[in-house]
Symmetry: C2
Subunit: 353 residues, 2 copies
């Protein structure tokens, strides 16, 4: 198997021309090529293990069936890889291949990554980020159909459709879950105010309280950060040395890592979960939330769905392109989060309802 077989090799072996080979192997044989020849061509292709040279096909057709994915740090970081997985699954199911380029958070590489991808004649582009955030869309992305996943254009005039999680609703449903368990004094350990996810989740939290006709107790919403130690210290501030009646009966964290910190703190203080304190995470991080002790109730981000939705929209745009109708501009698509109830949340302690 020295060199790959070409269409010409197949044609020779089958005793026909390469045009015939092309037609038959692309399913347009009937009505153009004699049945008999078709069989011979297929046999020849099989014996030679012929597969078309995708590069040549791309050059000829001026489309590569490649979707370029630019990621800020999805590959490097442990987060949000399922966005790419979801996108790739959809792409693959339609005969597309995805090419991922990770800029490792170096924004100066954005344009060059897009340029490289464009030079490779990608048919479309997707930009994926770790964590919801505004994005300064690389100008060259506008040259081909594009979509944003987990981020949105920082210029209002937009133009590039975005698929993002419905964070407000997620925050609302998280709070609602706890309110339904009888909790009234719920603390919220948010990430930071820089990323849009935290304020949106907080907004949802407030919405839930409002819908229940209850006031959010002052000082119950703290922006502490996204890591284990942030959750730990935030929880200590809320719980350590505080008399039981003054303690929140539940803590919602900005993510599962923060929740780990809260559990760590609760363990140290001798508080039982969920009997003394209910704890919720956010993200449903793979093999973190489900394996915690106790297993974490959490709000799962719809990562796969987001990736799939973004890719589906992009591929649709690709196939519709000839018409070039902008009137169905999708703008932002909000994908709902999923509440996953496990063991870390329970009924409010007696006397605190």
């Amino acid at each position: 198997m020295n060199r790959k077989a070409t269409a010409l090799d197949v044609a020779k072996l089958a005793g026909v021309s390469r045009s015939a080979v092309s037609l038959v192997l692309n399913g347009r044989g009937d009505g153009n090529v004699a049945k008999e020849s078709q069989v011979r061509i297929r046999e020849a292709a099989a014996t030679l293990k012929y597969t078309p040279n995708a590069i040549a096909v791309s050059l000829r057709n001026r489309r590569s069936r490649i979707i370029g994915i630019v990621s800020d740090q999805v590959v490097t970081s442990p987060f949000d890889g399922n966005i790419i997985a979801g996108a790739d699954a959809v792409a693959r199911s339609q005969g597309f291949v995805t090419v991922v380029m990770d800029t490792e958070l170096d924004e100066t590489r954005d344009e060059s990554a897009v340029a490289t991808l464009l030079d490779r004649q990608v048919d479309g582009l997707m930009y994926v980020t770790v964590g919801l955030r505004p994005l300064h869309v690389p100008i060259n992305m506008l040259r081909v159909p594009s979509v944003l996943a987990n981020c949105f254009d920082d210029r209002p005039e937009a133009g590039v459709p975005a698929v993002i999680p419905d964070e407000v609703r997620g925050g609302r449903e998280a709070a609602t879950h706890l309110l339904e368990l009888g909790h009234r004094d719920i603390a919220f350990l948010a990430g930071d105010s820089i990323t849009p996810a935290a304020p949106r989740r907080i907004q949802g939290h407030r919405d839930a309280y409002e819908a229940a006709g209850l006031p959010v107790r002052p000082g119950r919403i703290l922006q502490v950060g996204w890591d284990i130690d942030a959750g730990f210290h935030g929880a200590m501030k809320l719980l350590d040395g505080v008399a039981a009646p003054e303690r929140p009966t539940a803590i919602v964290c900005a993510n599962d890592r923060g929740a780990i910190g809260v559990v760590l703190a609760a363990n140290r203080l001798g508080l039982a979960i969920p009997q003394d304190l209910s704890i919720m995470g956010y993200d449903d991080e793979f093999r973190i939330a489900s394996t915690m002790v106790p297993a974490l109730t959490t709000m799962a981000l719809p990562l796969r769905e987001m990736g799939a939705a973004a890719m589906t929209g992009l591929l649709r745009e690709l196939s519709e392109e000839p018409e070039d109708n902008d009137d169905d501009a999708p703008g932002q698509t909000l994908v709902p989060c999923r509440l996953v109830v496990r063991e870390s949340t329970g009924q409010v302690p007696a006397g605190r309802a």
Copy 2:
């Protein structure tokens, strides 16, 4: 900017032929093209924002400057993404682009992923896995220069070079760190016996004891699994209801997640870390080990280095290929792990030395 500029457009604008454009833009202008024309060509290229069509170049040169990366679940899972990051950095620095295809652990997709990549005319292939493991190398990988990262050929006759972490040494150095702190009764919560990492780390652990002339206490090596709950239950087995003199003074975990479980258990039992118990993780997982409370001492896997080493070797093979000399077959390259000392390990408690 409707269609991208081609070499012909540049040639017209500069008033020369496309051959001249090609020569100049590929650095072989001197001695072939008049200085004056060279300037005009460069100017024309700049004004037209000309960049060569990579697809056409690939077809013509019969090499794509693309390295295909097949991953079992590196993209999807939160682990080991830095192998790809390290590999990509090296590839990019040499003008190559990497294309990642993730099979999501579906081995039946291995061959088709390789075939797809081969159809795209990749110049080389890399297979990357999450966690060290033997790999049934897809047969078609042998058609182009290839390399394995974090895995190794399950058939001894091999042929495909592999870059893997030096797990035995890692286990040894972890144990040595604790022995140097005076610990004599060290427990090892290993993952499972299916993946080769656990037994190798255990081997290193035993080696360290042997080198120190000490016996490993029976029952101190438990294979419990890789997750938080595994570490928790393993630790409870070792610690709960056990009198202080009979408790191990240190616990080494197969990974950082297990260590989280051990800390959780220790907190519940009222044991202070590291005063009562030293705990070590393994992996130095991003924003886990460093943000734990207390911050975890851990054995960092050399992920970036592995990826970089694998890609460096692969690219070298690509450039050497003409000679086709197998005599420098690299076989397996072992990359050392890095001990990261933080707060979870300390001197052995008084009286337990």
